[in-house]
Structures are given as structure tokens and as C-alpha cells.
């Protein structure tokens, strides 16, 4: 039985294929179109899933599972009183659009099952957790009405027992403060989390009066402080007054006050999350907790829930945000159609995207006249050559196997480097990732060596929790200002070549970990194809690219190519979107850019 799970039309459209209960493929549309967070119909992702399933045709698909209920969402949107300033065309009124797009753009003709937004989140965590039974907590901005749900799973059954409803939302609270701090909503929340350790929680008291805990897992936002129905700004002047913090302009200077606010927000979020897990434990006592929803991307809070909450073991869906809901919806459809749980074991890895074989890459390199070093059939030598370069403090683009699903690069499309180099963090931030300098990088560490260096004694393969660094080594590139890190433990079972690479680095240097960050530059989706990787290298200061069995050192990339890529990038940035002069209206239809190309900073919660 072939089931396609879809989450789409809001943020980062994604498709996955569950075949006979096994998750066999999945990818977000952005990786194919190269439009970050592309929310258009996932045409390429759908086709990829069909190809990965063995050249399937749409007629081979038994069901499409859609991740939310447009009708219930409309109820909530109507209750918000969204006006024309949010969307003059009222496009959100059209609840028939998702089905229509699935039919007309994906070409799918069979049955479509839809599930509720938080049900999909919950399923994305529980059914892939490997727990036979577990309590399930989902926390995000908002789906239909729910912003938080409390549930319990057992075998094939998954029940939601209670919920917190819009507008009271931890996700929206976090996004509103992200907005106030001058970062992009629905994308830069993790930057606020990264900023928090630099601050003092001096606004926590005020925030506790704005986001007040209530009985039975509830909490309330003081709605004088927020307006989720206005375009472009989530908070009101009241919030600014209450906090006494002026909104920071995007890309404006980062001051101590911003760090203090970030820290306060993080503290209050953690408190509320802990309270919620305790309430959930009353409803669903268990050793196991599953977490999903955008707020579960907050790996600092996850750690606190894990160490201080009532549950012994937790599983966080690696693609915790809406992208991963495609996985949940597909699992729910499988249960509905077969009565059986989709998979028994824990999801071993998220390498569900496309891969590219070395011979095909060789042909491309030949046409591009790039004289790469060819290590086909000689993996040990390849890894030694990579370690040579890491040890010389080079930054490596590492491209191997199937692309990861979810926001983290986990050794398939990663940038890696030596964590011991004190200058590495700044170099990576400024020259390669082209991003703010305050954030550290994550380590990928050999699982068996992890306890000797970090405060974690169980596998954490998806970078979903932080922990303290306890290493005898000095690891400035991966250690945050508060001594924490966000590790990926690397196991030879689930990431064999990546594990052998780190093992080789360990054998050479005595350091069993590398810096691991996603293979992209700021504003760009993670690379997908070998060509994306070459382009990314040409457009950054990456010293060396490992494309499967090939090593391409920077000098092999011609000046022409670097110029071409840079010019292409500039053209993209400078693209001016056509606007219509009101003098012409009446006889002019409003020209709208393609949906995926909406300018940054314009967002609505519709």
C-alpha cells in the first residue's frame, strides 16, 4: 500500500511516501525549487516520492493524507476577523484550494484523507518513536484551533485527550517576541534561542504576567499585547510598553537588552513547557514522551523537559514543525486503512531524499572540467584525505547518500570542520554561512565516545536536545557561551560512512567529534544535488567539497564559475517585484508575485 503524506500551502511544503507502513521517501519542495520555505504545491517533492518508490505513477498511490483540516482552520480564521489588509484577495477563504491543487498540480486522482493539524503532529512523533506506548505532547503556533495538545498512544491507537486553543499559544508567543527582536517570524526563532544564553532573565517576571499558566494544562496570553490578525507585526504597542523594550530593526544592532529579553522568553517557555508535561503526566502516566510541533524545535527546552520533567525517555520528531506533519498524516492514513501501526521501530534516520551515484557525478565533473580527486572504490583513502584537510583547519562540504528530511543536516548534506580551532566559529559564521556571529555550531560526535565529552548518555541522533560539554578537550567552535552544545550522536549503524569519517578524525587527532552545520548559506535551502553543492562552494569560503567519492579542492573551482554564481545570486537578490500604481487601478488587476516568492518579512497567520 502506497500512501503519500502532504503538508503544504502554508510553510515549507513537504511530501513523503509510506509504503506498506514503511517510510521510504520524503523531502520538502524548497530543496528542488531552491526557494526557501517554498509553500507552493509540492510538485517536485511528490514526483520525487513516486520515483523513489520505483517509478510509480499517480495511479499507484492508494491514498493521499493531508495534514490539516482546511474547514476547521477557516472557522478559526473567521473568528479572528481577518481584514483586507492581511490579504486583499481573501484567498484564505478558499478551503477547497488544497484539494484542488493536489488534483490539478500533482495530478493525483485517488482518495484524499485529511487529519487535524495537531493529530498529524502527534502522529509524526508517536508512530516513528518506536515506543509501544507513550504520552504525546504537541506545541506549535496554531493549527486549526489547537495550539497545544495532550495525547496518548498505544500500539496503533493515538488519542488526543485535551488541548489549549488559539489565541493562547506558546509558538505565537515565541514568534511575537522573535518579531519584536527584529528576526524573521517562522524562520529565525532558533536565533532567539541561540541568543538567550548571552542574557539575564530580567524580563521573565513581566513575561509571566503576559503568558500566565492556568489550571489543567492551560495558559493564557494577555491579548492586549498581541494582534495576530494584523499583517507584518504580531505584537501591539502594549507589549512594547509592558516590556519597555523598543522593537529592534531587522539587522539592527544586537544589544544586551535584546539578549536579556531572549533569555527571559526562553526561561518562561521552559517553565510553561515543564508545567504542561507535568499536566500531561497526570493524564497519561508513562515512561515515554513524544514531542512534536514547531516549539519542539527548541532543543534547549527539550533538554529541560527530558531532565526535569516526569518522563524518563523522550522522542522528538526530527522534523518537528509542519514539514514533518506529512509523516504524521501518512501514518494516520495507514492506521485508518489497515488498522495497523505503520512501523514498530524508531525511525533510524531521516535520509529520505534524493541521492546521486558516483558515476553520474563523475560524468558531470568531466563536463565541468573539474579535475576532482577520484576515490571510487577506495573509501579508507578518501576518509584519510578528508581528515588531512580537517586537520589543516579546512572547512569541508560533505555530500553523501540521501538528503536529510527536516531542518538539520546530519551527515548527508553537512558542512564539517575541526571543533578545536578557536577561530573556526567566526570563520564559519562570517565567510561560509554568512550569518550572525553569536551562534555556535553543533557537534557530530561518535556515539560510543559521547559520554566522555558531553553530558548525554543515550543516543541523540537528530540534534533535538542540548547538553553540557564536559570534554577534556578545548572545543570552542561547538561550545556555547553557557557551556552547552546541541549534539548529534553518530552511530555506525545509521550513518556508516559519516561515523567512519569521524572515527578516522578521532584516530588522527584524539578528538571524536566534528563541527556539523547544514550545507547551505544563509537564506538558501540545504543543498540537494551535486550541482547545488558545487554552486554553494563557489559562492562561499568552503575549502573543499567531498561529493560522494570525489574531493574537489577550492582551487579547482574556476574564477569564472565563482563570478557566475555570485552574479546569479545578486540578480536573485535584486529582483524587484512588480507593483501596480494605484492610479492605474480600476482597470488593473493586482500583479502578485508567485506565492513562493513573497518578500521576506511579510507574513500572516492566515
Amino acid at each position: 500500500m502506497n500512501i503519500i503524506g502532504i503538508s503544504a500551502f502554508y510553510h515549507e511544503s513537504t511530501c513523503c511516501l509510506v509504503r506498506d507502513g514503511r517510510l521510504v521517501a520524503g523531502a520538502p519542495e524548497e530543496r528542488f525549487t531552491r526557494v526557501k520555505f517554498d509553500r507552493r504545491a509540492p510538485i517536485n517533492a511528490f514526483r520525487f516520492c513516486l520515483e523513489a518508490g520505483g517509478h510509480l505513477s499517480p495511479a499507484d498511490i492508494d491514498a493521499v493524507a493531508y495534514y490539516e483540516s482546511p474547514k476547521k482552520k477557516l472557522e478559526r480564521q473567521l473568528s479572528m476577523g481577518l481584514g483586507p489588509s492581511v490579504d486583499p484577495s481573501f484567498a484564505w477563504l478558499d478551503t477547497l484550494a488544497p484539494e484542488r491543487e493536489i488534483r490539478e498540480k500533482l495530478g493525483y486522482e485517488g482518495p484524499i484523507l485529511s487529519f487535524e493539524h495537531h493529530q498529524s503532529h502527534a502522529a509524526s512523533a508517536f508512530y516513528y518513536s518506536g515506543f509501544g506506548e507513550a504520552a504525546v505532547l504537541t506545541v506549535d503556533g496554531v493549527g486549526e484551533w489547537a495550539t497545544t495538545t495532550y495525547g496518548v498512544g498505544r500500539g496503533a491507537e493515538l488519542r488526543l485527550l485535551d488541548e489549549v486553543r488559539f489565541p493562547h499559544s506558546l509558538g505565537l508567543l515565541y514568534s511575537a517576541i522573535t518579531d519584536l527582536l527584529g528576526f524573521a517570524v517562522l524562520s529565525d526563532e532558533y536565533k532567539v534561542m541561540g541568543l538567550a544564553p548571552y542574557g539575564k532573565p530580567r524580563f521573565a517576571e513581566t513575561l509571566r504576567t503576559i503568558a500566565r499558566p492556568g489550571p489543567r494544562g492551560q495558559f493564557t496570553l494577555d491579548m492586549a499585547c498581541f494582534d495576530f490578525a494584523q499583517p507584518g507585526r504580531m505584537y501591539t504597542d502594549t507589549l512594547v510598553e509592558r516590556l519597555g523594550v523598543a522593537p529592534r530593526a531587522p539587522k539592527g544592532e544586537l544589544l544586551q537588552v535584546h539578549m536579556d529579553l531572549a533569555r527571559s522568553l526562553q526561561v518562561v517557555l521552559e517553565e510553561l513547557l515543564l508545567a504542561k508535561t507535568r499536566y500531561l503526566y497526570e493524564l497519561a502516566p508513562s515512561e515515554h514522551l513524544c514531542l512534536a510541533g514547531g516549539v519542539a524545535l527548541n532543543c534547549v527546552a527539550n533538554r529541560r523537559v527530558h531532565t526535569e520533567g516526569p518522563y524518563k525517555h523522550i522522542f522528538v520528531q526530527p522534523a518537528a514543525s509542519d514539514s514533518g506533519s506529512a509523516l504524521g498524516a501518512a501514518a494516520l492514513a495507514h492506521v485508518q486503512l489497515t488498522g495497523r501501526r505503520p512501523s514498530e521501530g524508531r525511525i533510524p534516520h531521516v535520509n529520505l531524499g534524493p541521492s546521486y551515484d558516483a558515476d553520474r557525478i563523475a560524468a558531470t565533473l568531466a563536463e565541468a572540467n573539474i579535475a576532482a580527486l577520484d576515490f571510487r572504490g577506495r573509501e579508507a583513502e578518501l576518509l584519510e584525505a578528508v581528515v588531512d584537510r580537517l586537520d589543516r583547519q579546512q572547512v569541508i562540504g560533505w555530500f553523501h547518500g540521501r538528503m536529510e528530511l527536516g531542518p538539520r543536516a546530519l551527515g548527508a548534506r553537512s558542512i564539517i570542520a575541526d571543533p578545536r580551532d578557536p577561530t573556526m566559529r567566526d570563520r564559519l559564521n562570517a565567510l561560509i554561512k554568512k550569518r550572525e556571529g553569536f551562534r555556535p555550531f553543533a557537534p557530530a560526535i561518535l556515539e560510543e565516545q559521547a559520554p566522555a565529552h558531553i553530558d548525554i548518555h543515550y543516543p541523540s541522533r537528530f540534534m533535538t536536545e542540548t547538553c553540557q560539554v564536559r570534554s577534556p578537550l578545548d572545543l570552542p567552535a561547538i561550545t556555547h557561551v553557557d557551556g552547552s552544545a546541541r549534539p548529534q550522536t553518530v552511530s555506525p549503524e545509521t550513518a556508516p560512512r559519516f561515523a567512519r569519517l569521524i572515527a578516522a578524525f578521532y584516530a588522527r587527532t584524539g578528538c571524536p567529534l566534528v563541527v556539523n552545520t547544514s550545507f547551505n548559506v544563509a537564506g538558501e535551502p540545504i543543498v540537494n544535488t551535486p550541482e547545488d553543492a558545487i554552486r554553494c562552494m563557489a559562492n562561499s569560503q568552503i575549502d573543499c567539497l567531498v561529493l560522494e567519492d570525489f574531493i574537489i579542492d577550492k582551487p579547482l573551482i574556476s574564477a569564472f564559475l565563482r563570478r557566475t554564481v555570485a552574479a546569479g545570486d545578486r540578480a536573485l537578490r535584486d529582483r524587484v517585484e512588480a507593483q501596480v500604481d494605484p492610479r492605474l487601478s480600476g482597470d488593473v488587476e493586482r500583479w502578485r508575485p508567485a506565492e513562493g516568492a513573497l518578500p521576506k518579512g511579510v507574513y500572516t497567520f492566515v
Binding site: 510538485i43 505513477s57 478558499d94 500533482l106 500604481d581 492605474l584
Partner: protein, 674 residues
């Protein structure tokens, strides 16, 4: 009704239709004009700089033409601002050779050195930007505004899929009123209203600073052919249209010119697609009546230039040209009718490749003639005797051979994408002529053409390919080279022309290309991917993104009874093929390779897959044509129209064109039984 009940209601088609109608009734009126920001304004890429010598303008680099700074106007000097679209910007000759440079040179010849022509033309400039530029240009205190615009005024007007839901609802009302013909009428009404507004505001900006406004009325290439299928017409009208059109085409092909003229006139087409008028124009031209042919060509253009039935090209319909011409006296502007002057120059009314590269862009001779006329118009009042364009024409400069060669090649690339010709032969002949013209102008184009062949590789995007850097040194050719499309028509023309010139090396390039394809065929190639479709714009109207990728063309939709795909291979082995397709009416689709039938698939409304073999014997080394012949349409036109109208009334885009069949994938692979 509570929100839950309301949501329940709105989530139905009825509910959404009611909501759209209510929103339409309460739609806010047009907003007030945008107040200009105080202080100096930028003009296109020119940034204002306030310095010791007053307000000057600078731009970051000299990408488009030479000057980097516009200083204060010299006392006694004549300053001309040239504002316009791609035609005025000199595409595809720019930046080395532009109408502005030619105009400046001619005015200097006529009036002396104290003349300055500032080039404010830009390709793809829409009406809003034109107004903005014109108003900002007042800061330069020009003496004359030359307004070479009009071709792009349809931007944002039409019923394209990005139109707002409210616009679509209004189209539904028109459709209900009088069928597709009333949509054409609605478009015409909007375009004329838009043109009146544009002329008024552009001229007012010139008058505001006491400058003369010289408006050129764009001419169109009468020989530029397009064919458009008919929309659903109801009452069997589309079927009747198709029969009549086919009869006219057959007569033309058989050389029965009178019969073709007659048959084309019989097709109930006005105003609709213009395609029968195209047949008429060709027949009239062949029978030696260029004036009537030119008129028929204009009628074709007036019928075609609206969206969702065909792709509207930047061209000025006759009614807009008339509005520009007739308003001159009352509007206080001077009009230069390019159509008349170009006709004088070539000695006949039927404008064609002698003065145009493509649908609207003037070639070197076209630019020389047009700018002679503009220069004469500007100079005459300042001279004791008025000047005619013929007096200035011999003085008009020409571009270097390399620039001319590059422009011809770019024109061929453009034509290969935007020339849905009546027959493939015509496109091939046009492309071969343009490629020859490029090589004749400067043989430096030869390596560019060879690179074009290698850059069609399916393995490597042209941006990474080693053949790009050297070839892209020729100015202007990059866009054609870096396209990811196979572009079989242009590829075929280049192979033909290089071979006919005895270029032995071209076989090496073809071999490299074939090797790339053979490697890709090991994994499989989907011929229905937009990249392998020979004609870019024969695609779904239901999406409006880059038609080179799947977002722009989710799957292939056949708007004509046959479809062509291109395959490059070595013809050294059998290839497996898997076709997944569907059709609205039951019947068989036949698959042909290079004209030889290789299989048929019984089709119905759901996707079905046929697997078969393309036998080695049917294949050729190099370019192959894979064709699908669709079953005849048996669809109730009235029902189809009702459906389209229903969708539009919901604010949803609708397909007004009959679709003979759809291809989800057409996968060819070297593996057996794939």
C-alpha cells in the same frame, strides 16, 4: 449563524461563490495616487547625488550603456530623455548599440555637438514603472521626452492565473454574458482605458517641465506568426472552428491561395484567436497583395493579444495605435508613426524580417530608420527647413559585426521559444536564416554555436559546464547558452547550418552531446519534462511560474491534437519507454518515433501507463522526434464552458482551452522493461 456554521457554509462551492460575490460588491475603490517621497528621486538605476554642482545622478556600473554620471545640463544644450521598453532599449543589440546612441549621433549631425540623449529605456518595463521613470526624469530638466512605449501596456491587465480572485469573478460575469468573445471585448476595453491613462500621464510629465513630448507609435512585425487554439465556444463552435481552420491550412499548404483566403474568412474567429487571419495573411501575401496581408496580420494580432487563450506578446494592437495617433493634437504631443516610416523604408506595407528581429524588436536597419524619423521630428523645429527621415538615414551609425552577429543569434533563440508556428518547417527555416545571418555577420559566432550544442547536455547545468566560459565572452549570448532546455528547433538549425558550411568539428560536439544523453538514458529521461518540450509556451495556462520547471508546468497538456517531444540518443540500442497519460474522451493515443508508429494506448479520464520499446531501427543518432497523436475530442463544449465559468466565479483560475490529452511522464530509458 456562528463561525462554525459559517465555515461549514463557506467551505462549500456555493458558500465560496456567495462570499466572492459579496466581496466583489464591496470591493474598495481604487486608492489615491501615491504621493512622491520628498527630495530627489532615483531614476531607474540612477541614484541622485547632491553635490557642489547641484543635483547629479550616478549609477553603480556601466552595464547597459556608457555614461556613469548625468551632470547638470549645460547651458544651451539640448537634453533628450528616451523612455521606453525593450524595443526602445535596443534589445537584442544593447548595450553596445541602442536607439539612444543612434539618436544622439543623428541629432549631433543635425544640430551640432551640444546634444545629450539620456537612455531611460529598459527591457520588460511595465506601465507603472514607465510612469515612475517619466515623472522622476523631470528632475533632469529635459527639453524633449521621447516616449517609445506601448508594447508592454497590457502588463497586469489580463486574465492570467495570477489575477486576483475578484478579477476572475468579474471574468466569470463577462463569460456568462457572451462567452469567450466578451472576454476579448473586456480585455480590449481595459487595454484602451489603460492606454488613455498612460498617454495622458506620460505627456503630462513632459509638459510639467515645459518639455516636448514625442510619442512613437510602435510598429509590429507582420510576418511574426503565432497560432492559437480556440477556446471552448459552446454549441460545437470550437469543433467547427477547428474544422474550418484545418481546411484553410490545407488549402494554403496545397497552394490553393484563393481557397485558403476564403476558407480562413469563413472561420468564426473575430475577435478570438487570430489564427485563421494568420492563414489569410500568408495566402494574401503569397498571392501578391501585401497591403491586404498586412491588414490581415494586424487583425490576427488584435485577436490574439490577450491571455489565458494564448500568451500575449509585447505588441501594440491597432486600436491602441489609433488612440495614440488620434490623441496627438488634443493632447499636445507629437506622434511618430513607425509603421508608415518603416513601410516607406522597405518599399511596401508588409513589415517583416527586413526591419525586425522578432515580434516587436527592431533590427539594425529598423533602428536606423526609426531613429532617423525621431531625430528629424526633434530637430526640424530648430532648423530653418524641416528635415525628413531620409536625409538623416545615411548618417545613422551601425553596430560592430560582432554585436550584429550576437543580436541575430539572440533573435534566433528568442524565436525558438516564442514561435508557435503554423508548421515546424517554417520555424526551422526562420531559425536557419537567423543562424546564417549571425555567422555571416561575424564568424566569431561559430564557437558560440558549437558551445550551444555541448551545453545541451542533460548531465550538467550550463552554468557549470566547461564549454560556457569561452563562449559567453561574446556579449549578449549568455541567456541563450545557459538555458537548460534542449531546444530541439534551435539545436537542429545550428547543426544544419554548421554542417552545410562544412564545419567538421560540429560532429565532435554532437558526439559529446549524444554521449551525455546515452549516460542519462541509463538512468532514464522524462521527455515530458518542460526541458524536452520543443516549444516553451505550449503549456498549461493553469500555472504561471517559470515554464522551464515543474512549478510552471506540472504536467504536459496537449492543446493541439498532436504533441511533439525531443530525444537525443545514439541509436545504438533499443530504448524502453513508459508513457503515463490520460485524455478527457476515451480513445487511443498513438506514439510515433520519427514518423514510425511504435505503439498505442487506450486512454480514458484516469492515468494509464503503457510500456513498450522504441526499436533501434526507428531511432537516429542525434535528434529524434517522439510524437503523440491524441484521440478526437468528444466533450460537451457548453458543459466545459459552464465549468470554467463556475470556477472563475469562485475566484479560481479556469482552463478555457480544450485539452486533448495530458502526459504525466514519458520516460525513456536504456534499461529493458523499465
Amino acid at each position: 449563524m456562528n463561525t462554525k456554521e459559517l465555515a461549514e457554509f463557506l467551505a462549500s462551492e456555493e458558500g465560496l461563490a456567495v462570499a466572492r460575490a459579496l466581496l466583489g460588491a464591496t470591493a474598495e475603490p481604487a486608492g489615491a495616487p501615491v504621493a512622491a517621497r520628498p527630495g530627489p528621486q532615483p531614476i531607474l538605476e540612477w541614484r541622485p547625488v547632491e553635490g557642489e554642482d547641484g543635483l547629479t545622478f550616478e549609477r553603480p556600473d556601466a552595464a547597459r550603456c556608457k555614461p556613469r554620471r548625468i551632470g547638470p545640463k549645460a547651458p544651451g544644450a539640448l537634453r533628450v530623455c528616451l523612455i521606453g521598453e525593450s524595443m526602445a532599449a535596443g534589445f537584442p543589440l544593447a548595450p553596445a548599440y541602442t536607439p539612444a546612441l543612434v539618436l544622439e549621433e543623428l541629432l549631433r549631425q543635425a544640430l551640432g555637438p551640444a546634444v545629450e540623449v539620456i537612455d531611460l529605456a529598459m527591457p520588460n518595463m511595465g506601465p507603472t514603472e514607465q510612469l515612475r521613470v517619466c515623472e522622476a526624469a523631470r528632475q533632469l530638466r529635459p527639453d524633449v521626452f521621447v516616449l517609445m512605449t506601448g508594447n508592454n501596456w497590457y502588463y497586469g491587465l489580463t486574465i492570467e492565473p495570477t489575477a486576483s480572485p475578484e478579477a476572475r469573478r468579474r471574468y466569470a460575469l463577462r463569460l456568462a454574458e457572451g462567452g469567450p468573445r466578451s472576454l476579448v471585448a473586456e480585455h480590449r476595453r481595459q487595454l484602451l482605458a489603460r492606454a488613455a491613462v498612460m498617454v495622458k500621464h506620460l505627456v503630462a510629465a513632459a509638459h510639467d517641465v515645459g518639455a516636448r513630448a514625442v510619442l512613437t507609435i510602435p510598429a509590429v512585425n507582420h510576418a511574426w506568426e503565432r497560432r492559437s487554439p480556440p477556446p471552448w465556444l459552446g454549441g460545437g463552435g470550437a469543433a467547427a472552428w477547428s474544422r474550418g481552420y484545418e481546411a484553410a491550412r490545407r488549402a494554403l499548404a496545397a497552394g490553393a491561395l484563393e481557397e485558403a483566403v476564403h476558407a480562413a474568412a469563413q472561420v468564426e474567429d473575430t475577435p478570438l484567436t487570430g489564427a485563421p487571419q494568420r492563414v489569410r495573411a500568408r495566402a494574401l501575401l503569397a498571392s501578391g497583395d501585401p497591403a491586404a496581408a498586412a491588414e490581415a496580420a494586424m487583425a490576427a494580432l488584435d485577436g490574439t493579444n490577450w491571455q489565458n487563450i494564448t500568451f500575449a506578446l509585447p505588441q501594440t494592437p491597432a486600436a491602441v495605435a489609433a488612440l495614440m495617433r488620434d490623441g496627438a493634437e488634443a493632447g499636445g504631443y507629437e506622434a511618430v508613426e513607425l509603421r508608415e516610416i518603416l513601410a516607406e523604408a522597405i518599399g511596401g506595407p508588409y513589415l517583416d524580417g527586413r526591419v525586425f528581429y522578432d515580434h516587436c524588436h527592431l533590427n539594425v536597419e529598423g533602428v536606423r530608420v526609426a531613429m532617423s524619423a525621431v531625430a528629424a521630428q526633434i530637430a526640424s523645429p530648430r532648423l530653418p527647413e524641416p528635415l525628413g527621415w531620409r536625409a538623416l538615414h545615411p548618417l545613422a551609425p551601425s553596430p560592430t559585426p560582432l554585436v550584429a552577429a550576437s543580436a541575430s543569434f539572440q533573435a534566433a533563440h528568442w524565436a525558438s521559444q516564442f514561435f508557435p508556428a503554423l508548421a515546424q518547417d517554417d520555424l526551422g527555416a526562420l531559425l536557419r536564416a537567423q543562424v546564417r545571418e549571425a555567422l555571416d555577420a561575424d564568424d566569431a559566432l561559430q564557437p558560440v554555436l558549437r558551445a550551444f550544442i555541448r551545453l545541451r547536455s542533460p548531465l550538467t547545468s550550463p552554468g557549470l559546464h566547461a564549454a560556457l566560459p569561452q563562449a559567453s565572452r561574446v556579449p549578449g549570448v549568455s541567456a541563450a547558452l545557459v538555458s537548460r532546455r534542449l531546444n530541439a528547433p534551435l539545436l537542429g538549425a545550428i547543426l544544419d547550418v554548421l554542417r552545410e558550411r562544412g564545419d567538421a568539428e560540429v560532429e565532435d560536439d554532437l558526439t559529446a552531446l549524444v554521449q551525455g544523453y546515452e549516460r542519462a538514458l541509463d538512468d532514464g529521461i522524462d521527455l515530458a519534462h518542460p526541458r524536452h518540450q520543443p516549444q516553451l509556451w505550449e503549456r498549461t495556462p493553469l500555472a504561471w511560474d517559470d515554464p522551464n520547471d515543474r512549478q510552471g508546468a506540472p504536467f504536459y497538456r496537449a492543446l493541439w491534437p498532436d504533441s511533439t517531444f525531443s530525444l537525443v540518443c545514439g541509436a545504438s540500442r533499443d530504448l524502453s519507454v513508459a508513457l503515463t497519460a490520460r485524455a478527457p474522451s476515451p480513445g487511443e493515443v498513438t506514439l510515433l518515433v520519427n514518423g514510425a508508429p511504435v505503439g498505442a494506448l487506450a486512454l480514458g479520464p484516469g492515468w494509464r501507463t503503457w510500456r513498450g520499446v522504441l526499436p533501434q531501427g526507428t531511432l537516429r543518432r542525434g535528434l529524434n522526434e517522439v510524437r503523440l497523436l491524441w484521440p478526437a475530442l468528444a466533450v460537451d463544449e457548453d458543459e466545459a464552458l459552464r465549468l470554467a465559468q463556475r470556477r472563475l466565479s469562485l475566484g479560481v483560475d479556469a482552463d478555457l482551452l480544450p485539452v486533448f490529452g495530458e502526459v504525466y511522464s514519458l520516460r525513456v530509458t536504456a534499461q529493458a522493461g523499465a
